[in-house]
């Protein structure tokens, strides 16, 4: 009889099928039987020695620490589900999208920015699904001057979104409805064929400035907020690459005030946010004026939705707003020094 099995017997970890043979061995070996019983008594005595009913009453300071830890863990788990979905996008993207409404219900109101990132992930999944289904070239072509050529417009809109120096080129863009209005989705690709989605839209959250990064398998997600705009980058790249992209965008966002525009820029008052008290920051481009439906928009059904086996009334609809550049107000942005990232340890 193996020593390990005797201990497993003592601790109740023995597979069901082995219990009988251990017991018959013990009944034939009184010395071993005595030893096993001594070990069993040790376990019982340990509980008599150290169990305290008072431990069940959680002191308040433990309770608040536990609550904080619980929040962090729940956030992790939701982000993980999010990224697991994104990792599978393009493989089983449509099936996942069909089940997506369940995720949306799961997102509690306590994580508004995560809810935002969830929208971004969904958009990314749909885009990736399009790439997988039709090939990257076709996505661009299928736009046919429609949804995906909004990239040209979006690039004008967001000079900060030029990721050429990071080796990523814009391959498409579109407008999507989002929780609090409309959002812009831009898709980039690098020379290795890695796709990254930038999602910019209205967001309400207290998490201003700081980047939040999630990583799961080979998909990474990063999001941050500037004023009332949420930014989310997601792609099947290393999170360090994603972080560099985010820095490029966030960096450009804070200095993009002087970017040229085709349209007359309406002078809008710089909002005196608390963040601007830290350092004088140049005004930046922001999205909200775009978010009302511009005139002469055309609704086109997104390719991914069209391919979907089931009607999906809740699915985003691409909107072509190429010819309806709105005006842009100026706003303050948080000091970039708010941004933090801990290296992998």
């Amino acid at each position: 009889m193996a020593e390990d099995e005797l201990h497993a017997y003592v601790d109740g970890h023995l597979p069901a099928g082995r219990k009988g043979s251990v017991e018959s061995f013990l009944s034939a070996a009184p010395g071993e039987q005595e030893r096993v019983e001594a070990y069993q008594r040790q376990n019982i005595e340990l509980h008599r020695l150290y169990d305290r009913p008072t431990y069940e009453t959680i002191p308040p300071h433990y309770g608040s620490l536990a609550e904080r830890l619980g929040r962090a863990i729940r956030r992790q788990r939701m982000a993980r589900r999010l990224l697991a979905g994104a990792a599978a996008a393009g493989v089983a993207g449509l099936a996942l999208l069909a089940g997506w409404s369940g995720y949306e219900r799961l997102t509690p109101a306590e994580y508004p920015l995560l809810a935002f990132a969830q929208q971004a992930t969904k958009a990314h999944m749909m885009a990736m699904n399009g790439f997988a289904g039709s090939g990257a070239g076709e996505i661009k072509a299928s736009a046919d001057g429609q949804s995906w050529s909004a990239g040209r417009f979006a690039a004008t809109l967001l000079p900060s979104a030029d990721l050429a120096k990071n080796g990523f080129t814009l391959v498409g863009g579109r407008f999507l409805p989002s929780g609090h209005g409309a959002a812009v989705q831009l898709v980039y690709v690098n020379k290795n064929g890695r796709h990254v989605t930038l999602f910019v839209g209205p967001a309400t959250s207290g998490h201003r400035g700081a980047f939040t990064i999630f990583e799961q398998d080979d998909v990474a997600l990063i999001y941050w907020q500037v004023d009332n705009l949420g930014y989310s980058l997601i792609g099947n790249v290393d999170r360090r690459i994603l972080f560099e992209l985010a820095e490029t965008i966030a960096g450009a966002t804070t200095v993009a005030g002087g970017a040229k525009s085709n349209e007359a820029v309406q002078p809008a008052p710089v909002q005196s946010e608390a963040a601007s008290a830290v350092a004088p920051v140049p005004p930046v481009l922001t999205m909200p004026p775009l978010l009302t439906t511009p005139p002469e928009t055309k609704q086109v059904v997104d390719q991914a939705v069209k391919d979907s086996p089931e009607p999906r009334p809740a699915a985003p609809t691409a909107v072509d707003v190429r010819d309806s550049l709105p005006s842009r107000p100026r706003k303050a942005s948080p000091a970039i020094s708010d941004v933090r990232l801990k290296p992998r340890t």
Binding site: A38, L49, Y50, H61, Y62, L65, R68, A79, T212
Partner: protein, 188 residues
């Protein structure tokens, strides 16, 4: 594993119990629990997923405990006279809770490594795999520490009874008041 609850509160009673069994001193034990929760929050990075909360918490507690032992060994920590006294008094006697007192005293004689394995498995009901993960040692090492530790306890307890019978006249005078005090504190 992953389906285990994210309800941290559910694990606090066993963390307190384990800390108390490790340290024996109630104040120090509660301090360890608090430090463990704070560390758990600080280490909960978004990209480093906590797959098993219970193992995560016990791993942190184990590491903190090992740190404390190392500090004490280097003389960085002042051990109170009371604690030293209590250690000295933790000898078996023929008063009530004889068996219990014996086990506590016998546990003190084990190596830290063996004691942790025995407490995680025997008291906290950890699987052998979880214990290996928490202590960051191979499964085989868990089994050998468990086997040796239990056998050492058994011999200590057998011998302890005899020693106790022999030495019953020597320590008894100073024991009762201290023991009562200790037990009162222990029940708090």
């Amino acid at each position: 594993m992953e389906n285990r609850s994210a309800n941290v509160t559910a694990y606090i009673p066993e963390l307190r119990r384990y800390a108390r069994a490790l340290l024996r001193d109630p104040v120090e034990a509660e301090d360890l629990v608090q430090e463990c929760l704070c560390r758990a929050i600080a280490r909960a990075r978004p990209w480093r997923l906590i797959r098993d909360l219970r193992a995560y918490l016990f791993t942190i507690m184990h590491n903190l405990y090992v740190d404390r032992i190392a500090k004490k060994a280097n003389g960085h920590d002042i051990v109170s006279d009371e604690m030293v006294e209590r250690k000295l008094v933790a000898k078996p006697s023929q008063l009530d809770h004889l068996e219990v007192r014996d086990l506590a005293g016998a546990l003190d004689k084990l190596s830290t490594e063996q004691r942790e394995v025995i407490l995680l498995i025997g008291l906290e009901g950890m699987s052998y795999e979880d214990a290996a993960r928490i202590l960051d040692i191979p499964n085989g090492t868990v089994m050998s520490r468990l086997s040796r530790g239990r056998e050492a306890l058994r011999r200590l307890l057998d011998g302890g009874d005899r020693n106790d019978a022999r030495s019953s006249g020597t320590n008894v005078q100073s024991l009762p008041s201290r023991r009562v005090r200790e037990q009162l504190r222990g029940r708090g």
